[in-house]
Amino acid sequence: MSESEYWASIMRRRLSRRTLMQAGLATGIGLWAGSALGCGGSQETKGEPTPSNQPKQGGTVTVRADADARGFDPHLETQTQASIHITKIYSGLMIWNRDSTELVPDLAQSYEQPDEVTYIFKLNQGVKWHNIPPVNGRELTAEDVKFSIERMSTNQPGKFQHAYYFLGRIAKIDAVDKYTVRFTMNKPYAPFMAYIGSPWSKIVAREAVDKWGELTKSETMIGTGGFMLKSHTPNVELVVKRNPDYFKKGLPYLDEHVTRFIADPSTVTTMLLGGELDYATIDSVDIERVKKAKPDYQIIEGVSTNPFIFRTPPYDDKIPQKAPFDNKKVRQAILRAINKQEYIDVVYGGRGVQCVGMIAPDRQPWALPESDQIKQDIPKAKQLMAEAGFPNGFKTDIICPNMWYTVDCSQVAKGQLAKIGIDAEIKPIEVAQYYNVVYAYNYNLNMHNMTGSEEPTDYLAPYYGSAATFYRWGNKELQQKIAEQEGIVLDKEKRIKAIQEIEHMIQDEAPMAPLFVVKYSTFGKPSLRNFLPVWNNYQGYYATELWLSE
């Protein structure tokens, strides 16, 4: 047979019926096997929630965190990914309430403040540590509180990340008796109580520290909280179980609380829709889809407390101000070129709240009212630019971390600045490098997402205070006022007034424009009761009050 005949015979060959049936059978078996393996997912069955307000014991709730914690030591860590577990397992003297507007007792049964520098806490009696070696369920005492606060105030830069709360502020801590601890400050210090209620000011056991040193690993978490560690599969999930000896009788209601570590937002939506998660905060782009697919799900909406800010270069005695931003009129012009709602609409689809001053709008009573808002005023901005000597604007650049939200916000800023003649080039920078640049104060304009807390000083001092390092602003009067308001302890109205005066000063100086905070939606199954939104720092603690109606 010649070669051409050989190939011709191959081409003429047809599929026999036997071959076709064999292929079909193989395909069918393959598809069946694939479906048997692949179809292991859950199917959410809808049911009517039991109309009952009586908490029920039992059940497991599964939630999501975007990543596993790097470590679990409350005095060393700073990540939210750590605090959600820390607040379940450890306790503090006080805790912020569900709205983060008021401090309520936790380990402390009560407290009193006889004068501006003294705080006396009476502890609940019979509070037991988790029954895990080396602590073995002994009773918590005032000595534990003293030990913990002194530990977290250790002056070791880069290690004890919250030492600044109390380091150099507390003159002494006395364990007056087994259940009474007294703090005496060097001088009046208004942030003290807020920091005592912080998710990081947790009481740890001396035995654990003596054994392990750093309580970084999950298995070192021994606290007095409502939950105890059951298991931790790194980067997969962390499971806590009910503490049977929890000092708040009857709590927690749940048997277990599971946190799964899921990075991808689409995967979170998928798992929520599929019923694998009991509640989750959903990306803004998926909210309508989830609402449509799960009309019976509960929705909790709230705002972040971490504002987006648009800032000019810092300066102080050692760092010269960068032209043209050393000109106050230029800075004020930039502030008036900004339309804050545009950021919210363009970047987050309308889901946000405008900031007025430096303090996030949800942090009442400290935040400035809406009536103090500096609104976009292009004619005024152009006038200020002309007065500053830049009638035709100038070229500059905006740096930001290369996260989608800061890049998008920078693009909005570019468009707004163009209206007053400022031609800004956007320079996204990888996160680690970004901090190097920012710490070196080596930039012109910067789009940033700052962090805050319940303590108003945290929005002011790290940026404008005399000890600030993230950012420096060399206005001595401002620095002094920030220091002074920390000493207003007993007169809250006076402190509110002082803080708002500082915010007005900052508005006038215009070193940065506070833009907006994001509005989040947390979806939860109909059977859930008492759950808190995922972005809340204390949702771990309040998981003790979470229960399932069915």
């Binding site: 047979m1 050989y6 859950s42 470590g71 830069p157 970084t216 997969v236 829709l273 680690a432 710490y439």
Partner: protein, 314 residues
């Protein structure tokens, strides 16, 4: 052959030495250092130099490297600068995930690519051939992460169904493990099968034109024997080369699939370590990947001798 294998094994060590030197240097040259990142998270940034001293990063470069290598030779790859977990502990959790995903993906790829490639070759320029080549181009063109997202989101949105997303080690729960891995393995396998299919087809076309194949037909051998025993075996050499390269790349290159399907593999570990400048973890992961690549190359070379007895190593 034995001598060849021994020589190749011995060559692994200088190769890995060069890799560790390169990674150790490069990761420290990347702008943005871990000390600055650590202090940036404090309420008031502390002394960066103090943090560097705490981490041992203020020592001269060569001192750090010598200390690192002396630990590596004792099996200690260091400790994560952030989590304080031993790098070997991190890797022991992640490597099995990546290896399993890689092997499953390769398996799916072979199950798809070889039959289609062979069928496409023996039915050249017919509709099976056109279909196979179209599928290959589709597999090469369509991003795997897009397919993955569609597979996850659409059933969840319309049928309230999601695949299982919780990782279970294979030895603990094989069925749950496979239920999680099947989808990413299939998606990755489809993407990988495209290039394998095209290579298989091309090599089969060349081999089928060889004299020994014509001899086999002339002897009256059955089609299956001609194709599988004679033609396919000889066509496999470049295919094995591609598979070896793909498996090596899979170990650290599956970060997107790992993120979408929530798999705690080496890809995510490496990306997170780079972002956080966790130098020991970056070094450890790269060392593992380099070792795997070197071993894979050796395995591929040894496989050649099985596929083609004419290949001999001295």
């Amino acid at each position: 052959m034995t001598q060849y294998v021994i020589r190749r094994v011995l060559l692994i060590f200088p190769t890995l030495l060069i890799v560790t030197l390169a990674v150790f240097s490069v990761v420290r040259l990347i702008p943005g250092d871990v000390a600055t990142l650590m202090v940036s998270e404090q309420g008031y940034g502390a002394d960066v130099e103090a943090v560097k001293h705490m981490l041992g990063l203020d020592k001269p470069w060569h001192e750090q490297y010598i200390k690192y290598m002396s630990n590596v030779l004792r099996g200690d790859l260091g400790t994560s600068l952030w989590s304080k977990r031993a790098v070997t502990e991190e890797l022991s959790l992640r490597v099995p995930v990546s290896v399993e995903l890689g092997i499953l993906a390769i398996g799916v790829s072979l199950c798809i690519a070889i039959p289609i490639g062979v069928a496409s070759a023996i039915r050249q320029d017919t509709w099976p051939d056109y279909l196979g080549r179209s599928l290959a181009i589709g597999g090469l063109s369509i991003p795997g992460f897009w397919i993955a997202t569609i597979i996850l989101v659409l059933p969840a949105a319309y049928f309230n169904w999601s695949p299982p997303m919780k990782y279970q080690p294979f030895l603990k729960d094989p069925l749950a493990n496979l239920q999680l891995f099947i989808l990413p393995a299939v998606i990755m396998g489809i993407a990988m099968s495209a290039s394998v299919m095209r290579m298989t087809r091309a090599m089969m076309l060349e081999v089928l034109r060889q004299d020994y194949i014509r001899t086999a037909w002339a002897k009256g051998m059955r089609e299956r024997a001609v194709i599988v025993r004679h033609a396919l075996k000889n066509a496999m050499i470049p295919v094995v080369t591609i598979l070896g390269m793909q498996l090596s790349l899979l170990l650290g290159g599956t970060v997107i699939m790992e993120s979408i399907f929530n798999l705690p593999g080496m890809g995510r570990l490496l990306i997170d370590a780079i972002n956080w400048r966790d130098y020991p973890v970056v070094q450890g992961v790269n060392l593992v990947i380099a070792t795997a690549i070197v071993c894979m190359n050796l395995l591929v070379d040894v496989t050649y001798t099985y596929l083609d007895p004419r290949i001999r190593y001295r």
